[in-house]
Symmetry: C2
Subunit: 474 residues, 2 copies
C-alpha cells in the first residue's frame, strides 16, 4: 500500500504529471464529472479556510467590510464599460432559461464583479461622508476556460474581490498599493512564496483598469504563476456608471476606484513551489495540521504517550493530528509525506524507554530525536525553522532561474534553452512585447520599478524606458 | 433627519411594507438591478458571518468536514434520480453557452447538491472504513422563483448543505435527528426563535427523501417560516448512483444518506419575530455589535469616557461600536433603534458628573442609569436578560396564536378569521391535506410526535392517525 501512495511521477521527469499526482494523492481535489470544475476535498478546503481566515483578518484590520453581490450580470449591465466587456464577454457562462421560460435578457455568471459593485455604489454613494467605501466579497466566479487544471485554471474559481471607492485618485492609488502589500506580506510570510511584485504593462493589465499590479510567483519548473492582482481604475467605471457625490464644496464630482483579488490558485503555487517527489510540502503557517503523531505498534503505553503528545501540542495551539488507523507504520509515514504535514512525530517503544521521540521534518526529511519533555519547545522551534527554510530554498531557486538578456540573440538563446524569468531593458512599445510573444510564446510579467535601465531595448534596440521581466506562465 | 429614519410603516398596518422598510432602513440589503437577487450590505452580511461562525463550530464539533463541489449540474446528472429532477427542474437556471459557443449539454446552476455529492461519493467510498462520511458545504444556490422578497425567497440563496453517508439506516436516521437538534439549539439559544420542530408529511417532504424534518418559526403576523430542514434519504440516491462499498463481511452493500441545510432566510426570521415599529431588534447572541456608545455633545471628557467605555467592553469580548459622526444625538438614537443594537449607551456630561451613564435596552426601550464603574457587569447582565426576554416574548406570542380545530367547521372559522397555526387530528390521507390547501391555501407544517390523537380527522371525519399543525407560510 505504501508503494501505491509513493507512485508519484518525479518532478524532473514530468512536472505536469507530478502536479496532478500530488493534488490527487494528497486528497486535495477529486476530478468531477462536471467538465472544467473540480471537487475541493476536506484537506484542500482546509488550506483555503486558513487562507480566508488570515486574509479576512487583514482586510478587517484595514477597515474593509464584507458584502455579497448578486451572482448574475444581465448582458446590458456587463456592456456598460466597453473595455471591460470586450475583455470578459468571450469567456463567460450565459444563463438563458429560468425553469422552462426563456429569459427576456440573458445573464452571465459573474466573471468578476466590477459592474455589480458600480451599480450598487451608484445608489449608495451620495456625499463625501460616504467615502472611502471599502468593500470585500468572498465568492465563486466563473470563466469559461477551454483547458483546465486543478487550482491553476478552472471554470469555477473561489476567490475574494475587494472593491473600493475614494474621494481622490491619490487615495485610490494608495489603496491599490496597500492591498498589494497585504498580499505580498501574506504570500511571503504565510505561504513562504518569494513573489516578485510589480506593475503590469498596458498590454497585460486588467480590462478597464488604468494600472494593474501583480504578484508573480515562480514555480519549480521556472514557469510564472500570477498569484494575485490589484487594480487602480481611475474614475473610468464611475463615469461610465454615472456615480457622483457631493463633495465638501457642495459640487457633484466623480469618485476613484480600485479592485483586488486572490484565488485558490495560491494553493497551486504552494504545491508547485514547495512540493517534492514524495508529495506535498506545506509551510507550517498555512498547514491545516502542523504535526502528525504516529504511534508505532499497539503497546498501551505508546498509545497513551502518543495521545498525550497530541493533546500537549493542541493545548499550545499547534494543530496536530494523530494517526490511529490500523495501517502499517510504513504506510502511515508515506501518507504523512504525501500530505505534507510539516512535522511527523514517531512515538515508538524503544525511543520511549529512553524518554525520547523522533521528529521528522517534511522539508528535508531529516530525523532527530528529542526528549519527550521538550516536545512543545522543539516542535515550536522546528516549525519556525521549516517555514524559513522553505522560503529561503524557494528564493534561492528563483534567483538561480532569473537570466539577463541584453539583446535579442541572448534573449532567443535563453528562451529556447532555459526555463525561468528573463530580465531585460524594454522601450515600452507593445510591438516589442507582441514580437516576443509571437516568437516564443513568452509574455511580460511585470516592470521592475527599482532598477535603472542598463542598455537599449532587448527587442528593437531603440532607447529603453524600463527594466522588465519576461517569462512563460501558467 | 431622524424622521426620515423613523418612517417605518407600522407592523400592524402593513406587515409586508414594514418588513421591506426595515431591511432597507437598517442597511441590511439593497435592491439590485439584477431581478430577483439582492445585495447583502455589510450590516446584513455581518449577521450571516456570525451565523456561519457559530454553526461551523457546531458542525466541526460533530465531526463534519467542509468541502466545495462544482456549482453546475449537467442535465444528465440532474436526471439520475427521478423524484429529485421532477422536484427541481421547473425552478433551475440553465446555462446554455460558454462564451460564444453553445454547450453540448446544458447545465443548471445547483439548486441543491445531492447529485453532485453522490457523483463524488461513488468515486471515494470503497470500504466500510470510509464511513461515515460527514461533509458540509457553504455556498450559493439558485432557484428561479417568480416572486421574491429579501432573505425570505430569492433566486440566489446563501446557505450550507450537509451531506453524509452511513453504513446503516439507523446511523443515518440518528444523523438526521442530530443535525435537527443542532439547528434547534442554535435557533432557540442564539436566534431566540421558539421554533416548532417535527416531521413533514409525505406531500411536503424534500424531492427524493424518505423523511424530512423541519424547524417552523412563527412570524409576528402568525405566518410560518420554514427555517431549516434535515432529510433522511434511505439508500434511494445511493442506489440510483450505484454507490456501493465492501462491508466487514466482504460483501458489496449500499450506504444510507442524509442532507440538511439552513439559509440566510434565518435573518428574515429574526427580523419578523423580534422587530418592532422602530426597526430591527437583534438578539444579543447574533448581533454584530452588542452595544453602541453614543456620546452626547462634544465635550472632551465625554468623548474620552465614551471611548474608554467602548474599549472596556471590547476588552471583555463584548463587540461594541461608537458613533462619532457629526449627526445629532436624536438622529443617532433613532439610527441605533432602526439598526437594532441590543443596548444603547448614552454618555452625557450631566450623567458623568454623577459618575453615571444611561443604558437603553432595545427590546423594551427601557432606560436605566448605572454607575460608570459597573458598566461591564451591568451590560453583561442586561444582554443575558434581553436574550431571554426576546425568546420568552416570541414564545408567548406564538402560543397565543396556536388554535385547535376539532372539525371542519371550526377549522374554516379559524382559517378565515385568525392568523397562526391550527392544531388538528388528521387521518394521514393526502386527499385531506389537498382539500385544506385548495379551500384555504393552507399547508401542513409538521406532525406533532409527542401528542396523542384526540378525535377524528378534522377534514374527513375518519379515524385520525396524527396530531399535526397547519398554517400559512412565507
Amino acid at each position: 500500500m505504501a508503494n501505491e501512495l509513493k507512485e508519484i511521477t518525479s518532478r524532473d521527469v514530468d512536472f505536469a504529471k507530478w502536479y496532478t499526482d500530488v493534488v490527487k494523492k494528497a486528497d486535495l481535489v477529486d476530478y468531477s464529472q462536471v467538465k472544467g470544475s473540480m471537487v475541493i476535498r476536506p484537506y484542500g478546503y482546509a488550506i483555503w479556510e486558513n487562507m480566508q481566515k488570515i486574509l479576512d483578518q487583514e482586510f478587517k484590520k484595514t477597515n474593509h467590510e464584507n458584502v455579497q453581490m448578486p451572482m448574475f450580470i444581465p448582458e446590458s449591465l456587463l456592456n456598460v464599460e466597453k473595455e471591460h466587456v470586450e475583455g470578459f464577454a468571450p469567456e463567460v457562462a450565459w444563463v438563458t432559461h429560468g425553469g422552462n421560460d426563456k429569459l427576456e435578457e440573458r445573464m452571465c455568471v459573474r466573471p468578476t464583479s466590477e459592474v455589480l459593485f458600480c451599480e450598487h455604489f451608484k445608489r449608495i454613494i451620495k456625499s463625501y461622508r460616504d467615502l472611502p467605501l471599502l468593500y470585500n466579497q468572498w465568492c465563486t466566479i466563473v470563466r469559461w476556460e477551454k483547458t483546465t487544471r486543478p487550482f491553476l485554471r478552472s471554470r469555477e474559481i473561489l476567490w475574494q474581490e475587494g472593491h473600493t471607492m475614494h474621494a481622490t485618485s491619490e487615495e485610490a492609488k494608495e489603496e491599490t498599493l496597500r492591498m498589494l502589500k497585504v498580499y505580498e506580506d501574506f504570500q511571503r510570510n504565510v505561504l513562504a512564496l518569494p513573489v516578485i511584485v510589480g506593475k503590469k504593462t498596458d498590454k497585460e493589465k486588467f480590462a478597464g483598469a488604468e494600472a494593474s499590479y501583480t504578484l508573480e510567483a515562480m514555480m519549480y519548473d521556472g514557469v510564472a504563476l500570477q498569484n494575485g492582482t490589484t487594480h487602480y481604475f481611475g474614475n473610468g467605471f464611475a463615469k461610465a456608471f454615472g456615480i457622483e457625490y457631493l463633495d465638501k464644496e457642495n459640487k457633484m464630482v466623480t469618485p476613484y476606484q480600485t479592485s483586488w483579488g486572490v484565488t485558490t490558485r495560491m494553493i497551486g503555487a504552494i504545491i508547485m513551489t514547495h512540493g517534492d517527489d514524495n508529495g506535498l510540502v506545506l509551510p507550517p503557517n498555512i498547514a491545516p495540521y502542523k504535526a502528525i503523531v504516529i504511534p508505532i505498534g499497539k503497546d498501551e503505553n505508546v498509545l497513551a504517550q502518543a495521545n498525550a503528545i497530541k493533546d500537549k501540542l493542541i493545548a499550545k495551539d499547534i494543530s496536530t493530528k494523530i494517526d490511529l488507523t490500523d495501517k502499517t507504520p510504513g504506510y502511515k509515514f508515506a501518507e504523512a509525506e504525501v500530505k505534507g504535514y510539516p512535522i511527523r512525530i514517531e512515538v515508538g517503544p524503544r525511543d520511549l524507554a529512553n524518554g525520547l521521540v523522533t521528529l521528522v521534518r517534511r522539508d528535508t526529511l531529516e530525523k532527530m530525536q528529542v526528549k519527550l519533555e521538550d516536545i512543545n519547545s522543539e516542535v515550536d522551534k522546528l516549525l519556525v525553522d521549516i517555514q524559513q527554510n522553505l522560503y529561503d530554498r524557494a528564493l534561492k531557486r528563483r534567483d538561480s532561474m532569473i537570466y539577463e538578456a541584453n539583446n535579442y540573440e541572448e534573449f532567443t538563446d535563453i528562451a529556447l534553452h532555459k526555463s525561468g524569468f528573463i530580465k531585460v531593458n524594454w522601450c515600452g512599445d507593445v510591438a516589442c512585447e507582441n514580437k516576443i510573444k509571437d516568437d516564443f510564446g513568452i509574455k511580460s510579467r511585470c516592470l521592475i520599478e527599482n532598477e535603472e535601465v542598463t542598455g537599449p531595448c532587448v527587442c528593437c534596440g531603440r532607447e529603453a524606458k524600463h527594466r522588465i521581466y519576461f517569462g512563460r506562465q501558467y
